[in-house]
Amino acid sequence: MKAGISALILFAGLSFSVAAQDKKLPSALTAGMTFREFASAAQNLLRVRIYYREEWVKDIRTGNYSEDFTLSRILDSLFSGKRLFYFTDRSGNIVVTKDFMVKRIGEVSVADTGVTAPSFAEEPAQDHQVKGNQFILIGNPAERNKPGKGNISGYITNSATHEPVAGASVVEKLLSAGTISNEFGFYSLPLPKGIHIINFSFMGMKEKSANIDLAGTGELNMEMTGVLIPLKETVVSAQKNVVLQRFEAGVEKIDLTSFRLTPTAMGEADIIKGVLLVPGVKSVGEGSAGFNVRGGSADQNLVLLYDAPIYNTSHFFGFFSAVNPDVISDATLYKGGIPGRFGGRISSVLDIKAKEGNMDKFRGNAGISPITAHAMVEGPIKKDTLSYLLAARTTYSNWIFNILDYSSFQRIRASFYDINAGLTWNAGKKDKLEFSSYMSHDAFRLGADSVYRYTNNIQSLRWRHFFSSRFFSTLSANNSYYKYSISNESKTPGSFVLSHQVNSTGLRSDFNWFQGRNEVNFGADLTYYSIHPGSYLPTNESSLVTPHVMPRERALESAVYAEDKFTVTSFFAVNLGVRISSFLTFGPGEAMVYKPGFSKSRSTITDTLTFANGQISSHYGGPEIRLSMNLRTSPVTSVKLNYNRTRQYIHLLSNSTSISPTDTWKLSDYNIKPQTGDQVAAGFYRMWFGNKVESSVEVYYKTINNMADFKGGANMVMNENIIEEMVNVKGKAYGLELALRKQEGKLRFTLGYSYSRTFIRSISSLKEEIINDGKWFPANFDKPNDLSLTVNYLFSRRLSFSADYTYNTGRPITYPVATYHMYDYILIHYSDRNKYRIPDYSRLDLSFRVGGSLRVHKIANPSWTFSVYNLLGRRNVYSVYFRKNGDEIKGYKLSVFGQAIPSVTFGFDF
């Protein structure tokens, strides 16, 4: 169908002439042509557009006219006796019809005329909102002659589930004007008055188009139908032009389909692994938790599920991310251009939207892989009103450890599970309520008596209210809880349990208001934090551990924001937002006052401030500017610019490179200032080959103030005065990101390359805190070259192949370069901080997926995925470390996967 439309329409320029009807065409230029040639000539000469269907006119040739005629005169003569008709709109554009004649439109709406407009669709649309593909009159005809543009807006919903379709692209191809539907499925597109063909497309859904005659401002709702094969099995259509429409440089919609096709080590699709394919996103190594975005540390990413933050984003030593892919409806990563509604982290926002339960019928899927098993069911409780979704995942690795031959494995235990549950209630036409709950748990023991456990819990309630079709709100309340503990339960004097807890409760309201060419978003959010930094307690009577509980930290983070996406012209749009955030910490508690000009340590404390219960002990805050601009330089290119400032009030205390389960969260307080980040980014985007291939070039520069870095040997655990271990450093990062994507057709690929650098510099005036003589040095996650290539080939709907190649520079490391003897000690001399690098990383993975039969109404639809991770068997270095044995230092390298890891995953949908 889309091919049909592109053949049907010829492009004729952007300006319109009312006088076109009266203008005569020089006979010399119209003689002896095919209709196509003639139409194209006429369009150029008269600056109008002519719509027709190729097959109706293929036999028509223009004659030799003795004089110059008007276009209508020529058309009359050409169409006579051929059952072809045409009509002319106010701008002089011509629409050709066959077998019937369209009455002059504008005076009466389509519904009243009873005239059937030509159908451009190959099949009749079933939905009632858009009957056939008539020229639908949008807006009040009386406004037609008023100056200015019209505006079309409406909701896009999934015809099967009635869920809103977020992120669908709405495009007027000839003008290459377009927009994207928001999370409510709402879109709003300003257009010049007149005839337009609007295209609606979304990944995994059948593309649709509507012919409209825009008289003023009006609405058009659209239902879209999913393709027969469920979304996660294959990609049928890609989002076109989306990259050009978005305002922000550096926003990536994570393509669910490709991340599901991407091979992983243990046969599980994984959202974080999908995120890592985005240029500018890196991880420290295999099996390490967290990811680094544009040179930021791992705790500078806000990962949201059900609008609530997740404090530990991984399972099983980082091999799985904490969110079950079965419940993800879509995920958006904001590397830059972070909208005003998000805040609290410096580097990025990963907004994971969860699926709503199917309102129509019962469905589900299940699968097993070598390590895990998962299942998901969804369905209506009351059709079209109330639905549920339940998903669970667990590992059965303990069983594997038992059957393994090596005795050293026998004591290893590692297990996790997670459960997602959701209820969606369409409480009426204007209200929608959603309740979601998430729980995850990890436990592991590695030979020793110590057992590590951690838990994430999220409860979230969201209420969407539609005040009108162009003004709606979301109110939500959520609670996110994270706890870890390390316990030694042996009956020895040393048995202990150490734990850390974070509890945050958030309330937020977001309002979206579409008014003409403005999309205004505003709202407020409030988060209350309660952190138990640590407790160290005996586990049983035989323990001699002295109980020690660190005082609770409490704080309130609040923010108000407002932003306006203003479409200045069809090719230029601006999004200006401001977020004002504030952070208050409360007593009871104590704060140490250190003598200025001295390194903070126990011995430089000059005073201790005591705060009563509820008394404000410190406060921070300020405005954060978010600015984006999008300039459509041509129908296939756009340039974007943006700047944003972000503030972060909660920090992960970690002096290691990767997130480890024993890292603790710390709020800013009397002594610890919030981190602030400023980023400027620019991007250039271009579509190729009829929008099939998209390419982008993005550059960014950012600075980070008050970054947390730690002195060597800093002890993070149960440290009440962590400020004494911190050094004030500044960070800067810059980079270039290139991407080339083709997301449709049999062959699909994503090629991403980034060159990015991240440096830090100690800015303390104290000699003790100066690192590398106060010069800029590479941060731990500075990996300049990063290349990733994913290729998918769909042999058929049942059989697909995927290959994934990754290369990046090794991360920096400080090597011991010499040993020396002094005062009877053997000392190690280290190189400058991060002067060296561990060896480069490269990996190739392959996978084949064999789907079940194509029949839709089969009871179960099985699929097999065969994958090989690290096909080349390369021993990628995860970490290099050194040990001093007596007077000798030895270096060791550690690889997570020393050989290719094959795996088979079986799954089925029902």
Binding site: T492, N772, G891
Partner: protein
């Protein structure tokens, strides 16, 4: 039979250690940690625990730990300077050696044939002479440091082809007060229950203060001597054993109104040494430091032995106060220390419970009968030789059990009081 006996003994020792919940190495590490008063916090070893965890987790997946020789461009052998001048009338030593590039294992290579001079801010210059390879000493009669003076160390090396000169920054000798007291406290690690003996340990502290409020930065080290008496009637039965401090012990009072140090830990003696078995003596030396040198020691103190792991602390190079004149980019290791010094000695003779006697392991084998024992060579020592009633000899294969000079000296130290 006697073999059996020995074995059961070692099992007992092992158990004792288990009860303590610590290995010897850990105890030593604790000792080092104790020096670092600022860092003393509960749960301190937990972060360290994580590294082996991460390591193991990865090992079980495919066990890919292999030895790794990194490509290091810094192959130059750097000059290492160990130099200390004080205000005491003693010979000062400057020790010059070369660092060993990564992965090379050998003793420190002395740097010989250098010209070593210390000059002060009033134009005097004192030459050091090379006493033995790489060890340069001053003449105690002609050169004695004076608090308030500033000193510079100059070294000229000559390797047969080129000569390089190294110079320190000008370092002022700050005065140091006397140590007020050095004292010990007996601490009970574990109460004795029924038949199980209790375990005691000993903490040694010092107090000092500077009425002039001028010293501010302190460093301490110590030498210790204790009496060892073997259980068996052998010729070298009583010795004095010497040891030195092995940790960095520094303190700053710069942020205090008063320049006073109280209960500064000096050392912690556990029950796994025999230091406290009969009589023990410790001499604590107190040095004044400049702020720069204080920072130098602090950085050194913060360096761990294990680096590079994802969960290990991040190391850094420690800058010296010496530099090369010809090539300022060349790194010099070590430090030219200029400190005034005072000392105080403490004797301890007390009852400490639960001291583990390493000489319990000594009884090794018993031989009955008259006549010579075949194969009795120099590697076997006779602990007890009873000719009556039947000939019994108790032998050992450890020389230390038979001869206390393996660990100490039979020469009585001049300062030793009493037994």
């Amino acid at each position: 039979m006697a073999r059996q006996y020995r074995r059961s003994h070692s099992v007992l020792t092992f158990r004792m250690m288990k009860i303590l919940g610590k290995t010897r190495k850990e105890t030593l590490m604790m000792k080092m940690k104790d020096m670092r008063t600022d860092e003393e916090r509960p749960g301190g070893s937990i972060r360290r625990l994580w590294f082996p965890v991460a390591l193991l987790s990865v090992i079980f997946l495919s066990r890919c730990v292999t030895e790794f020789v990194p490509e290091i461009s810094e192959q130059k052998e750097l000059l290492v300077v160990e130099a200390l001048i004080t205000d005491q009338e003693e010979t000062y030593t400057v020790r010059l050696s070369r660092s060993l590039p990564f992965g090379k294992k050998s003793d420190a290579r002395a740097v010989t044939g250098c010209l070593v001079t210390v000059s002060d801010d009033s134009g005097n210059s004192y030459m050091f002479r090379e006493k033995e390879a790489g060890i340069y000493i001053s003449d105690s009669t002609s050169f004695r440091g004076q608090p308030g003076r500033k000193y510079t160390l100059r070294i000229n090396t000559y390797d047969g082809i080129r000569s390089f000169s190294y110079e320190s920054s000008q370092v002022e000798m700050k005065p140091v007060p006397v140590i007020d007291t050095v004292y010990y406290e007996k601490t009970t690690v574990k109460e004795g229950v029924d038949f199980m003996p209790g375990i005691d340990a000993c903490s040694i502290y010092l107090d000092t203060h500077d009425p002039a409020n001028s010293c501010r930065y302190y460093r301490w080290d110590f030498t210790e001597v204790w009496v060892l008496r073997l259980l068996f009637p052998v010729p070298n039965i009583k010795c004095w054993i010497y040891d030195r401090s092995a940790g960095i012990n520094i303190k700053s009072t710069a942020a205090f109104d008063e320049d006073r140090v109280s209960r500064q830990p000096v050392t912690y003696i556990t029950n796994i040494t025999d230091r406290l078995k009969s009589k023990y003596s410790i001499q604590v030396n107190q040095y004044s430091l400049n702020e720069d040198e204080y920072v130098y020691w602090r950085k050194l103190q913060n360096l761990g032995d294990e680096v590079g792991g994802l969960y290990d602390v991040i190391p850094a190079s420690v800058p010296s106060n010496l530099s090369c004149i010809e090539d300022p980019s060349e790194k010099v290791l070590g430090y030219f220390s200029v400190s005034a010094k005072t000392s105080k000695r403490l004797f301890i003779k007390d009852e400490f419970e639960g001291i583990i006697d390493r000489y319990n392991d000594c009884i090794s084998d018993t031989v009955y009968g008259n006549g010579d024992i075949p194969g009795l060579g120099t590697s076997v020592w006779i602990l007890i030789d009873h000719p009556f009633p039947s000939h019994v000899r108790i032998l050992t294969d450890k020389k230390g059990c038979y001869d206390c000079t393996v660990r100490g000296t039979t020469v009585r130290p001049p300062f030793w009081i009493g037994e």
